[in-house]
């Protein structure tokens, strides 16, 4: 299973990758997780690679080989669709965060992303994760809402996902994250 998480720095991609790593380890798989720290944390485009299976060599997902691209922001999803394998699924937040070239008016935020994805015949699941995160009680649970939707689209049992979240998320944020997970899980 190859998963690419695409996000904007600060959205919680690292925590999401930790949940996935824990999940894979718990179900007895070999697993590698790779992310780049540093400059990219400052509101830049960030990706985390998660791979698990019987034996994993490369820690990075090759373009065209991801089962799932999990996008925390609409434009970031579009930026990494080339990582999807044929018939892979793009699970994307519909939230838009303007990058600096858009803010200063050098370029426009593309308005036709969903349409373009449809034209490419990509299997997509869109969700307004920010809206659900607000509803769950903490705006920062966008990542967990999306993990919920990912869980629903995976062959791995729900209890395993809940267990991995419990083992990863700090105690004081656990309830709100479990609620956010349920909201994402119950979407389809």
């Amino acid at each position: 299973m190859n998963i690419l998480i695409a996000a904007v720095g600060g959205q919680g991609a690292v925590l999401a990758s930790k949940v996935l790593g824990k999940l894979a380890q718990n179900i007895g798989k070999d697993v590698k997780v790779s992310e780049v720290h540093g400059m990219s944390q400052r509101g830049g485009s960030v990706v985390a690679h998660v791979k698990f299976g019987d034996k994993i060599y490369s820690p990075v997902v090759e373009r065209g080989s991801a089962d799932i691209v999990l996008a925390f922001e609409l434009l970031e999803g579009a930026r990494y669709v080339d990582y999807l394998k044929e018939n892979g699924i793009l699970i994307s937040n519909t939230q838009k965060i303007n990058p600096m070239p858009v803010i200063i008016g050098a370029v426009d935020y593309p308005e036709d992303i969903k349409q373009k994805m449809a034209e490419k015949n990509i299997n997509t699941k869109f969700v307004d994760a920010l809206d659900l995160a607000k509803e769950s009680g903490n705006i920062k649970t966008v990542n967990t809402v999306l993990i919920g939707l990912l869980a629903k689209n995976s062959p791995i049992a729900k209890e395993e996902w809940v267990k991995a979240i419990k083992e990863t998320v700090p105690e004081r944020f656990l309830d709100v994250n479990l609620k956010a997970f349920e909201m994402g899980y119950n979407l389809n």
Partner: protein, 595 residues
Amino acid sequence: MSKKELLLGNFAVARGAYEAGATVATAYPGTPSTEITEYIAQYDKINSEWSTNEKVALEVAIGASIAGSRSIVSMKHVGLNVAADPFMTVTYTGVNSGLVIAVADDPSMHSSQNEQDTRYFGMAGKCPVLEPSNSQECKDYTKMAFEISEKFDTPVILRLTTRISHSQSIVSLEDRITDEEIISRPYDKNPDKYISAPANARKRRVIIEERLGKLQEFTNNPENNLINVEYNDKAIGIITSGASYQYAKEVCPNASFFKLGMVYPLPKEAITEFVNNCDKVYVIEELEPIFEKEIKSWGLYVIGKEIFPTIGELSPEIIRTCLKEAGELESKSLVTYEVQEDLPVRPPVLCPGCHHRGPFYILKKLKLNVSGDIGCYTLGGVPPLSAIDTTICMGASIGMAHGFEMAKGKEFAKKSVAVIGDSTFWHSGVTGLIDIVYNKGNSTVIVLDNSITAMTGHQENPSTGKTLKGDMAPQIDFVALGKAIGIKRVVEVDAYDLEKLEEVIKTEVNAEEPSLIITKRPCILIKGVKFEYKDLQVNSEKCNGCKLCLRIGCPAISFNNETKKAEINKSLCVGCGLCVDVCKRSAIELKEKKD
């Protein structure tokens, strides 16, 4: 004990140092190496510190080694440039207890100003280099590095790369060797060895060559677990190491492999045997053709950089493409869905509420020549702030500003400033400042003091009042230091007081003597740092769409093309109020104050 954990490569290095019985660890933070020392700090049995720079960090570790402790020093690749001076001589003196130098290279420059291959330093210093290919090896090789260091009386470089340091894979944990087993050696009072004066150094120079030969014999022996030879289909043999091994293994599962654990010096006999046993041999190495050139110098035929790139990190995709172009693989690109070409890029930016924004806004407004430095404020070089003109290396801003004056004279100095962060100033800015005073320069130096080493993820430094372990520490005072070295014009100013800031900078650049300006405000990401105002909003009646507020480059402000007015994104805004001061029409209002 055999517990398995999913660990970051850097954490595994830290764990290796712990299990090996290290008792001293030093570092200066630098992506991608920082987490090694952050993780080590959690072990009570290891005495650890953030040193002021990598040179000092290595010197402390050398001292600790001679005094009898297993010691590890960690840095990024450019850090070894700073530490090169002690490094090139500790290879002469050798060690007492084991000394490991963990150096993390950053191929593709994810967070660096250049791309270097630390294996060259190993060659230059005639120092053995180990390179792990996953987290388990990060731990195992760290432990082996200590053993090799003591066995051969040499420092050992543990070379990492971004993908190894920042990837997690499963690691079996073991116990730390017990205190009785730790070779806590007595202080080694041995001046003939440790005083590298000419007469002694000439003798040590001979020993280095002998040591290199012994290391070659050692790595040649498969029992020492530094080479991993795996014969499959002998039509293709691959010689590789580190992350490249993992990529190549994924792309060519059926090929024969020669994986190097010690990447300098090379096991000549073992490699020769492998090359002779395979029909065709490819050398796959990230960055420089170091294995390739050496193997070719032995008269063996291998293929390397003829088909693989020298620039940037490798990946399964790059290796696949290169081998396909060489006619070796049938497989085509895996990509099914192409990306739209015209998507806007998303570069990193200064955070909303970042205190560097005010000074940069003023520097741009005053059209000054600005020599910049390494840190978050390097982001002040990108639009719309576009405030800095140069960045070379840690601490360079100050010497370069003096260079501006040396070249163009006093009047040019009145149009120039150096900007540097607090941690970078302590690292290597202070010597440049002394140079200016001593040589009667007139430069203006601005220290952007945000009370933390921010870019690498918030590490303590000499002016934050805390140590690596979180204990209280003396706070070294910029003002007192400036005065002590003879600067009469030392000014502290609030980074958010734009009016005052502009006045101070204008005055100080015009002064015909050196000036030190300290803009003080803690990093907005430090826990507990908050602003007085809660909610900012644009009054759409007052806003005339002039876009002046967009010039501060705040991610929370954007322009609505339909209404032709500025807007504030409330989920990003932290209420710093800088935009309120910038707007000439008072169109940005404070909606409500915090309690």
